[in-house]
Symmetry: C2
Subunit: 197 residues, 2 copies
């Protein structure tokens, strides 16, 4: 089997990517409960055995979709590289919410029941850790430049993550009890900066 | 039908309470997915028709269990009436976490998929609102006494709720990436006080 020319993908890898694409469409359409080997096979137009052979079972499918989600979140929150540490942190927070609102089914699966359902592979843990590390890096950048007070960057990142995760979870659940969810989220980011400065 | 002597409950009301008790046991044992009319009837030792007659269907059962949950959360977060406004806010935050960790299935149902699954009755909305109001009252108390800077108490309560909800949701999901979840939660409460002062 030769390497394909586009991005060095082998044909086998391309088939796998096409199946994960199909799995993402099923997740968005039918939710986590509908993400079955049979549904993904039908969506991709292949025999169920083709899905079983690559992903094992539903757990493997969920893990593949979650890995895509963590990659997308890491990319979104690493996007802004503003030199100003406060601006970089604010952009990270805004991009976190944007990702969650644009991909609610992924977000719910990544940090809800999906994660515990998925086979906890080392690869998946690495991808999730990379998404958290994007935030830790921004916190460290902010501490080094006086935008946040010195401390353990992972500990401070956990506090920020708790708050933004809670805010977007409530928003996705229709539980923002104030008139303007976007304004409330901006006030949350400012509160975090004030409380951690 | 005469009023019963214990707490003014009619026998009919006592039966209903016994069915909600049974529904709570099913929720704790089998999760939200297992909370069916059939399972609750079996748990309570009655015919399924007895459950249908009082709760209609699964939605009605979920709503009844969620209402209990909101009452419990409101009671837990209203418990402490320390005169010092900072101490009262801290106790409210600690009691929120204690309730969630002690009742993870209720908590997950109250603020996860359960709430959107339940028939959105006016009564349930009132019970949920009462739980939020317990926090708003504490925020107003803190603003009036200088522990929090002046502002819209509901808006500030939404920020606090976002953060504590996120923290306990991550903890219930096994997603606290620092060594000590209790210490991280205390740091979160302090961050909220610092950021809102």
């Amino acid at each position: 089997m030769t390497e394909g020319s586009a991005g060095g993908r082998t044909p086998s890898r391309a088939v796998e990517q096409a199946l994960v694409d199909a799995a993402e469409r099923v997740l968005v359409r039918d939710g986590l409960g509908g993400l079955t080997v049979r549904a993904v096979a039908a969506e991709a137009g292949v025999a169920p055995m083709g899905v079983y052979n690559r992903f094992g079972n539903k757990d493997g499918l969920v893990a593949a979709v979650l890995a895509r989600g963590f990659d997308g979140l890491a990319a979104a929150t690493s996007e802004d590289t503003d030199v100003d540490p406060t601006a970089r942190l604010l952009a990270c927070g805004r991009n976190y919410r944007r990702f969650a609102l644009a991909h609610p089914q992924h977000y719910g699966a990544m940090f809800g029941p999906g994660l515990s359902q998925a086979a906890p592979t080392a690869e998946l843990a690495d991808r999730a850790d990379a998404a958290f590390t994007a935030l830790v890096d921004r916190v460290r950048y902010g501490m080094d430049r006086g935008a946040l007070r010195p401390g353990d960057p992972r500990g401070t990142a956990q506090l920020i993550w708790s708050s933004v995760h809670g805010a977007v979870s409530l928003e996705l659940g229709g539980l923002v009890l104030t008139p303007d969810a976007a304004a409330s989220y901006e006030a949350l980011l400012q509160m975090l900066l004030d409380g951690l400065r």
